[in-house]
Amino acid sequence: MLDSRARLALLTLGVGLLVIFRGSVHGDQRYDDPPFLILQGVGLPAVDVGLMKDDSHGPDAPETLRRVAVRATLKGDEALRSSASFRPGRMIVRFRDEAPAAARMSALRDAAASGIIAERPSYADFDVVQMAAGDDPVAAARVLMEQHGDVVMYAQPSYRLHTMFTPNDPLYATNQWNLPLINLERAWDIQPAAGSTITVAVLDSGLAYQDATILATLPAFRDEQGRLYPALGRVTIPYSAARQVVPASNPDRIVAPRDFIWDTNTPFDFDGHGTHVSGTIGQLTNDGVGTAGVAFNVKLMPVKVIDSVWDFLFRAPNEATDEVVARGVRYAADNGAKIINMSIGRTGPPAPVMEDAIKYAVGKGVFVAIAAGNEFEDGNPVEVLAEIASRVKGAVSVAAVDRARNHAFYSTAGSYVELAAPGGASRGFGASGAIYQQTFFPDMTDTFLLSPAQYRAPRFDMIGYIPYTGTSMATPHVAGVAAMLMQQGITDPAAIEDALEKYAIDLGAKGRDDQFGFGLIDARNAMFGLGLAK
């Protein structure tokens, strides 16, 4: 076996030859290369770093806070930390179908003189209005809603979303307390196929689903403390698939991948969150390697709607805003997904564009699971998407429990919480309290968390079983069980919600409550259903 340095040297040599070869054929100059290029399929398998005791992906971990802060700083948006910020210069508007173009333009001029209706994006029944950066989209949306209701169904700023950063734990027999906690072994007895006919869309930061080599030009930047990180120039970044999620022997497991951050069909994960979440839903199981997943035979549809720090530094054209996620929801529903997992969210004003999209998906027979949020100790704000889920039968909001079946300290509570699932918590349990799945080794990817002197290009080819915690981790448990229920015969999203709620293990106050909703999901009992007399 080659050690990781030798592998990197080999890879660099290979890519260098490839670049030289390309230059000689096409006459390209190195400096004319695009700032970001992915050579798909050019790369080596991942270096397996095994089980990690990493503690950097919990809601209260310092690294989590810094990731958010760096991302906010890079975008020049101090308010991003509150997750209620919006993208400047944009507004989402759904005009009434019967409203003529002249009336639309007149209303728009009244609300924002600089507003221009951009070409309608794919998978959208709404328009995106581009406006001068100095114009206030909140005020403009308010004018449209209050004074032009005859022309506009809704208008809202383009609010940003983020993953429900959380947190950490390892291998099934020794570390995956979370799967037995939802009575999953007995559910697998009933359905050994574990969701083989169902496609689950994971709307997240992407998925490490193929090997590649990335050529990127990394600019200098300042972090939230004002420290200057130097430009790294042109770098070659190795990228490997998480083979316990997408085995080389079964590439067909991936269905209709889509990247709404880069507007491509190659949703590479540059964060690790989406890969971790996908692993909880469908990581290979019973193969003698690593950890298990819930519905381990489902097909996965990675839909990238969340951008990471690296996406920004790679100069992605889009970011995780309401309309991007709404398009992702519609895309998944239109391309065969039967379950959508959204371990993402935001707080702040309502999101009618998201509500429309979620209703659209449920109307097409798609069950939607949405994280309830991780801010219980940070003012416990209402999570906008989770709140929508509570009003749509067939979509559910998911809170987190720790390994003792207590309310996870971070899990947002409210009247909109419908179900609970294992999200883990390191507080009181250490690393053994987290959720472990295969994803990137953060020491190699989150190099922007190092000091400027130590800062280096990331590597996305070192993969291990990394502990995360949060409602992001709880939600894919629900999505996986929902996939199994759908395969078992409960084909209606509303009925799946009924089944999950009816058979949930009541925790906390008797009956539905704000911390656990109807309780902790019970996969086996939901799947076992009813007999004649019992």
Binding site: I190, G489, A494, F528, G529, G531, L532
Partner: protein, 230 residues
């Protein structure tokens, strides 16, 4: 059922020689007679929604036998009979379900049920016709019900016996001196087994007229009996 009625009419038309010209119990009828019988029946269950959800059908055939005793020269009778489902292994086979908003979702998990009635009844036989003897009776029964599902714990299976009531009305035709054929309609009311769990509980949560039958394992049955003895 039609076949049974046709058979009964045919047999009635061909009256036994010993009965011709007789109106009432034959004078040589014994004071007490022991008459074994065999029976088949087709029962339409009251809990139609429940049975339809699990088995996709709302009725089932039974077969069985018993012993009838007539006294007072064939005017009063009592009988004891046992029966079981006329199915392979005497089981109804269906599958577990989930119900949401009134819609039934089948889950593909096999469920097998048995129903074994043991019934005791008595009544009066009306000798109003030389060949046909109408009768009317009532009684009670013990009903042993089992339910087993694949992947179930022992506690999730059902093995219970409850009492119920019977009412029946029918007619017997004596086709030979020692053989009679009877057709009757039998009503059974069997509370206590359905309604406290499973689909039957789901369908009987309110107290409406439509809900009450889902708590009853009984039903209406058409029964054909072959009786041996005088």
């Amino acid at each position: 059922m039609k076949l049974a009625i046709a058979l009964l009419l045919t047999l009635a038309a061909a009256a036994p020689a010993s009965a011709q010209g007789v109106f009432g119990p034959s004078t040589d009828a014994p004071l007490i007679s022991l008459r074994p019988f065999m029976e088949i029946s087709n029962e339409k269950f009251f809990a139609t929604k429940t049975f339809d959800a699990i088995f996709g059908e709302t009725s089932a055939r039974f077969w069985g036998g018993g012993l009838q005793v007539t006294v007072l020269r064939d005017r009063v009778y009592g009988e004891i009979g046992a029966s079981r489902l006329m199915k392979k292994n005497a089981e109804l086979v269906g599958q577990r379900v989930f119900i949401s908003d009134g819609k039934v979702y089948t889950l593909g998990i096999p469920l097998r049920s048995t129903i074994q009635p043991l019934e005791i009844s008595g009544g009066y036989r009306f000798h109003v016709h030389p060949r046909v003897v109408p009768y009317l009776g009532a009684g009670f029964g013990s009903y042993h019900y089992t339910e087993q599902s694949d992947f179930a714990d022992a506690s999730e299976n059902v093995d219970v016996t409850e009492r119920g009531g019977i009412f029946h009305v029918g007619a017997e035709v004596r086709v030979f001196r020692w053989v009679g054929v009877a057709v009757d309609a039998k009503y059974t009311h069997v509370p206590g087994i359905l309604g406290s769990g499973g689909v039957s509980q789901q369908f009987s949560q309110n107290n409406s007229a439509q809900a009450r039958p889902e708590r009853d394992l009984g039903g209406w049955a058409a029964r054909l009996k072959v009786v041996v003895g005088r």
